[in-house]
């Protein structure tokens, strides 16, 4: 038995769609913040099932897509050092920096390793005491506690050849920045299920309190997403503006305090650049003083350069929900998943890749 599966999908989905249609008496634009939702929405064809008034907009929620090219370049520079083993998650391998990618560097013979867990990087450091091992750690709050735990583990084991190049980002500050910019018009949020496993409900309350926008922490099965949409419409009908948890079989209201504790012991919030969104205050994570000997940016000379987007690529606008991927003139012609121009087409959770793969019939 899999506790993740939902019963009776075939019977319940039409019922939810009926309810959504009944409540959608005026337009409602909902942003799904999380890339995993974007893919789930496209794969299940939910857009085409919704009444015309309910519009789903993809947001900045794919860690790979929002990593600026300059940070990829830093990882590439590290991988070119003698004695270096650079470890990272597979999702990052194909993301273009200014002139190369980690995948191309590996093909050139650099020691770039794809790992499944941050602990694997610590293991590599233990197995290769004569090498320098750097983990290029990208991720949102879902992943940061695991990265923090690996840093603690490296310290406990006395691995002094282990370094972290942190490229981590926090979701609530990005949502605040998006709303404060005032460019995108949103009536509510489908909030990320697995980020919320860690942070719980409280960090989203500013959405309702300061921006008068509802949000529902939502799971990833088609029924979860439909219920999330239904709950957002029901709030409007009932005149409520709250943060609700649809995904309560997994997400606790208080999140995972232990995971947050470990994250807070190892990392401190710092300003961070986001592709498309610019620099957002306290939206990134850097190692705290007690761990700074593992900080790759301090140990190695790694200037961070501002790299302009490839001319014509609209990833920045796509990530803010301002344009849809097909509105990009390169979409499907010069830019395809096989030969991507921008990160939104590289990442399997990128909006451009999802549109390309599942596009037709999903435009709604």
């Amino acid at each position: 038995m899999n506790p993740h599966n939902r019963p009776d999908e075939g019977r319940l989905a039409p019922r939810l769609i009926e309810e959504i249609t009944r409540l959608a008496d005026s337009p409602m634009r909902l942003m799904e913040v999380c890339g995993t939702h974007t893919v789930a929405i496209f794969r299940s064809g939910i857009r085409s099932m919704l009444p015309p008034g309910v519009e789903l907009i993809s947001g900045p929620g794919c860690p790979v897509c929002v990593t600026p090219a300059g940070e990829i370049d830093r990882a590439i520079a590290l991988s070119r050092r003698e004695d270096m083993i650079l470890a990272t998650f597979g999702d990052l391998m194909r993301v273009p920096g200014s002139s190369s990618s980690l995948q191309e560097e590996r093909a050139q013979g650099r020691a770039v390793r794809v790992i499944l867990s941050p602990l694997d990087a610590v293991k590599i450091a233990e197995e290769h005491p004569d090498k320098t091992v750097c983990f290029f750690g990208v991720g949102f709050e879902t992943t940061s506690p695991a990265i923090a735990a690996a840093v603690m583990e490296a310290q406990r084991k006395g691995c002094n050849n282990f370094y972290l190049l942190s490229s981590q980002r926090l979701i609530p500050p990005a949502m605040r920045a998006l709303l404060s910019a005032g460019k995108v018009n949103i009536d509510g949020f489908i909030l990320p299920g697995h980020v919320s496993v860690v942070i719980g409900k409280a960090p989203y309350c500013f959405l309702a309190e300061e921006f008068s926008l509802p949000g529902v922490i939502t799971g990833f099965e088609p029924l979860d997403i439909l219920e999330g949409i239904y709950l957002l419409l029901r709030q409007r009908k009932e005149g409520r503006t709250e943060i609700e948890i649809q995904y309560s079989r997994v997400v606790q209201k208080e999140g995972n305090p232990r995971a947050r504790g470990i994250m807070g012991e190892v990392f401190a919030p710092v300003d961070a650049r986001w592709r498309g969104l610019g620099t957002i205050p306290a939206s990134g994570l850097a190692l705290r003083d007690g761990f700074s000997q593992m900080d790759a940016t301090q140990a190695f000379d790694l200037p961070l350069q501002d790299i302009a987007e490839t001319p014509g690529c609209l990833c920045g606008e796509v990530l803010q929900g301002l344009v849809r991927p097909p509105e990009c003139s390169l979409f499907g012609t010069r830019c395809t998943p096989e030969d991507p121009v921008g990160p939104c087409m590289v990442s399997t959770e990128g909006s451009c890749a999802a549109y390309y793969k599942y596009g037709r019939g999903n435009e709604g």
């Binding site: 599966n5 999380c34 995993t36 991720g139 949102f140 697995h194 496993v197 997400v251 995971a259």
Partner: protein
């Protein structure tokens, strides 16, 4: 990238490491972020770490809300 996968803890070895079964595939998972987990528990796993305990019985329960719909239309048994 934030996907978590549910699995069941088969055994717990030293150092907060567990063997977790994902539909027949077994992998080593760290319990550092969820030290209270025990053998037999279900948990959500992300990048090699258990992130959250899952209640198995919840899988059997239809959501209250959906129950309401079914009752309203007389489909509930």
């Amino acid at each position: 990238m934030c996907l978590g996968i549910p699995g069941q803890i088969v055994s717990i070895t030293e150092n907060q490491l567990a063997v977790v079964d994902f539909n027949g595939v077994r992998r080593e998972v760290s319990l550092m972020l969820c030290p209270e987990l025990a053998v037999g528990d279900y948990c959500l796993v992300h990048v090699g770490f258990a992130m959250q305990r899952l209640e198995p019985e919840e899988a059997q329960e239809t959501m209250e809300l959906l129950d309401e719909f079914l009752e309203a239309s007389g489909e509930s048994s």
